[in-house]
Each structure stands twice: as structure tokens, then as C-alpha cells.
Symmetry: C2
DNA sequence: GTTATAGTGAAACGAGCGGTACAGAACATT
DNA sequence: AATGTTCTGTACCGCTCGTTTCACTATAAC
């Protein structure tokens, strides 16, 4: 009963997600979000309650549509060398494919790690959950190979992933090089089939 | 001729540096900076021109008093295994020594990488220069050991350093673990003397 | 002691922020 | 068609931001 919502929530959340991704939580103003979504702030507040509510929806969408697809291969039963190489190669291509004048966005959650997450406990937990999930996925795929120095290797690969996302916003070429290095490590640890 | 400045510029810059370190450039307000330095904004503007001018002075101080001392050992002629282990051990102790309720600050420049540096070219260059200097210092120290996979090893150690600084603000224990991992890598690559 | 110069403090500036009030528009139900 | 409910656009709220103004104070030079 009553008037129907005239916009599609999913597309609005994704537009907002890209603004937060590019500008950060504090850097994104309501005016920016209105412009990117094409939706008036009164409608945004009606649907999401607050700027923070919209941000939380954007983060949830980011996990579902960006992170999960990337980690799925690593998380599968029997994942191993091939899935690790695919993960780092695809991530490297994504970083390298960005035109130089486009927003260098990196990872929304890595960007949060030095921003919101430092003085906001819920945000900190989301970032930490992401790190844990990444480490678990890498560990799962590494379990298919030689059982040497597993903790150390998980940390090295997670570290290369995260710092590549950090550097994506500063030096895209070096970011890609870090991901190539990760792939090289995987090749050195895993015997080629 | 004229009235003399009543505050010490160095201590004021360092107080401001700590505020920027903790809160970030955008997150630090003039009121915060006045409170931390004990200096009125009109005096800050007289001495530094703008908030950005004070920030630039804070970054310069950070390089001089925080980064340079840490990298000095790695940069010395003849640096090698011992200097690498000292670097990672000292950094790990610094991360672990922070009381849990104190500001988890990480690295001022790493914090900038996902903030200012993404839409401000001068800031981006400062962060990139720091990364270059870190890589060069690690390379110098690695040159004292076996000449295998040097590029890869430089990237791995730089990556562990940077992601440890990133995680210092999210999970101090894991941050310290990354730095231990780096030290383990050094031990594995370098024959013990 | 007078004067020119420079640092300091209080107050206020305009701009932009996140958030809200309210009237009107659009729909489901009756 | 009438009614009740929900969504939307405008216009505005109070607040905080970085910055500036200006009167006042303190010092160096003469």
C-alpha cells in the first residue's frame, strides 16, 4: 500500500559503493551520493536511514559482488596451485586494466583500514573479518601443496595482496608487480603439474 | 625587530604530527591542532600559512625523526642479515609495545596512501618516494647476501613492512606476526654467520 | 621613550556538512 | 472515486570546517 519506490535499490547501492570506494566514507558527501545515484537525499534517508546505513549497504554489496567472486576459487574443495595463480593473475589484470586517469580505487576495505576502521569498532571488525577470510582462503588453496611453512606462506601471500591493493592508489605498476611476485612464489612452492 | 615567537616550532610540529598521524589529514580539525599544540590558530597560520602547510611540516618531521632513523641501518654500506633482522625486530617491538587502548597509528605515510594521496598529486609523490626509499634500503641490505631473486625478495619484504603498518591499525598481533614472518624469510635466505 | 614591526587572542566569516520538516505526488486498497 | 499510506523534492536546520580580520601585546631598533 502507498507509493512505490521509483529507483532500484541494488543499482543505487552500487553507485554509492563506487563513490565510497573512490572518496572514502568521510570524503563522500551527501551531494556526491545524490549526484552518483540520481536519488534525492530524502529518498536515500527514507531507504537507508543515514549516510552510515547507506555505507553499510555499500560494504555488504562490495563483499557480495567484488570480494566473494574473487575468493570463490581459493575456497573451493581441492583448490591449489591453479586457483592461486588464477587469483593473483586476475587481480593483477584488474589493477593494470585501470586507465591511468581513472580513479585508482584499490580495495574498499583496505581503504577503510587506515580511515574509518581506526576509530570505529564496527568498521574495524569488518576489515578484520575480510583479512581473516582472505587468509583462510589462501590457506585452503595452499593446503593442496607441500605442507611446509604454511603460516609463513599464508602471511606472505596475504601481505602481497593487501599491499598491492594499498599501492593501487599510488603506483599501479608496482601494485601489479607485487601480484606477479605472489604468483612467482606460488610457482616456486608448488611443483608444476 | 618585532615581537618574538613564544612557542618552539619543532615541538609544535611534532604535536601536530601526532594528531595527523592518529586522525589523518581530513580528520584532524584546527580545534584538534590548537588543543594538541597549545597554540592559537592565528599563530599557526602565521607560522605555517595553512592547515596544509602545517601538515607538510609534520610530514617532513616524520621523515626526519621516524623513518630515517629506522632505515639508516639498512642503508649503511655493508648492511646485511643483521641489519635486516634488527629492522624487522625493532619495528615489531614498536607495534607490539603500543598499549591496546592507545591510538593505533601505523605509519603516517601508509595512512596517507588511501587518503590524501589518492586525489592529491603532491601527497601521492611523497608516499611513492617513501616506498622507493624503503625498497632501495631493503635492496641495499639484501645485496650483502646471495644474489638470487633479489627483486622478488625486495618486494616481499617491502610488502610485509607496508601491510604490517596497514594492519597496525586493525590487528596489532597480526601486524607483529607479519614482521616476524619477514625476519624468518631473511633468516632462510641468509646463511647464519 | 618612541616608533616600527611582528606575534597573539578572540571573534567572526562564508561554505559545506549530515540530517530533517513538510507539502505534494503516486500508488494500493476499499 | 475516495482514502490511507508511502515515496519524493524543496528548502532549510544547526553545526563544524578552514580561513580571515582586527585590535592588542610584546619586542627590537633608534
Amino acid at each position: 500500500m502507498g507509493r512505490l519506490q521509483t529507483f532500484d535499490s541494488t543499482t543505487v547501492v552500487q553507485s554509492a559503493r563506487d563513490v565510497f570506494w573512490d572518496l572514502g566514507y568521510d570524503g563522500a558527501s551527501l551531494a556526491d551520493l545524490e549526484a552518483a545515484t540520481g536519488v534525492n537525499r530524502s529518498s536515500l534517508y527514507h531507504a537507508f536511514g543515514s549516510k552510515r546505513g547507506l555505507f553499510d549497504a555499500a560494504v555488504a554489496d562490495y563483499r557480495d559482488t567484488v570480494i566473494s567472486p574473487r575468493l570463490r576459487g581459493l575456497q573451493a574443495d581441492g583448490a591449489g596451485r591453479r586457483e592461486l595463480l588464477a587469483y593473483f593473475d586476475e587481480l593483477r589484470e584488474a589493477v593494470a586494466a585501470l586507465p591511468l586517469d581513472s580513479p585508482r580505487r584499490g580495495c574498499l576495505l583496505v581503504n577503510c583500514a587506515t580511515g574509518l576502521a581506526t576509530h570505529d569498532e564496527p568498521a574495524r571488525e569488518v576489515v578484520e573479518a575480510y583479512r581473516t577470510e582472505l587468509a583462510a582462503a589462501l590457506r585452503n588453496a595452499l593446503a593442496g601443496g607441500p605442507a611446509e611453512n604454511t603460516d609463513e606462506r599464508v602471511r606472505t601471500l596475504a601481505s602481497l595482496s593487501m599491499s598491492a591493493m594499498l599501492l593501487a592508489r599510488v603506483n599501479a605498476a608496482e601494485s601489479a608487480a607485487l601480484l606477479s611476485t605472489a604468483a612467482d612464489q606460488v610457482r616456486a612452492w608448488f611443483p608444476a603439474p
